[in-house]
């Protein structure tokens, strides 16, 4: 797993940034409804995050799926930990668990 250069890049991104979304399109212009939904949740919580567009990088688009063992995009990472895709993010937000998780990881957010 360590010999793939994409994995090294992904690891650096999720280590250096508290909140990272691997998505289709950019936070300003999401190219997919599921990616847009995750951006919407993070925006509602007023969380600072880094959006990484996988559409501009085919190696990253495949690499992130292997890295997380998760077949779909978007993917949310908080504090270096894979949190889930769109369904899980929405579920966690609705139940208040996402806000709790941000607290645990020391990420500033609106309530």
């Amino acid at each position: 797993m360590t010999d793939n250069p994409v994995f090294t890049r992904i690891r650096e991104e999720v280590d250096e940034n508290d909140v990272v979304v691997f998505m289709k399109g950019t936070p300003m212009f999401p190219q997919c409804g599921f990616s847009a939904a995750v951006v919407q949740v993070l925006s509602a919580l007023d969380v600072k995050f880094k959006g990484i567009d996988v559409l501009t990088d085919p190696a990253l688009r495949e690499g992130i799926k292997q890295y997380s063992n998760w077949p779909t995009i978007p993917q949310l990472y908080v504090g270096g930990e894979f949190i889930g895709g769109c369904d899980i993010v929405r579920e966690l937000y609705d139940s208040g668990e996402l806000q709790q998780l941000m607290d645990e990881k020391g990420v500033e957010h609106a309530t």
Binding site: F34, K65, N69, W70, P71, T72, F82, I83, G84, G85, C86, D87, I88, E91, L92
Partner: protein, 81 residues
Amino acid sequence: MPMEASELKQLIIQAIPDATVTIEDLRGDGDHYAASIVSPAFKGKSRVQQHQMVYDALKGRMGSALHALALQTGVPDDLRD
């Protein structure tokens, strides 16, 4: 390449035999589904692990044959902590 709801259901049941599976074809095009899956096998597992079990059951079809599958997983009420 669309996929029948019955085939989807069968794949999940094959991998998780005691699961109760409800599938909804969101657009009627065989390509956008919502699945609700309840099984004792999910007990003690995180949401990510539960969804990974379902994706494993689909044997790589997710993201290729299947474009969109909204997932909701959980353990039966009487087994909840």
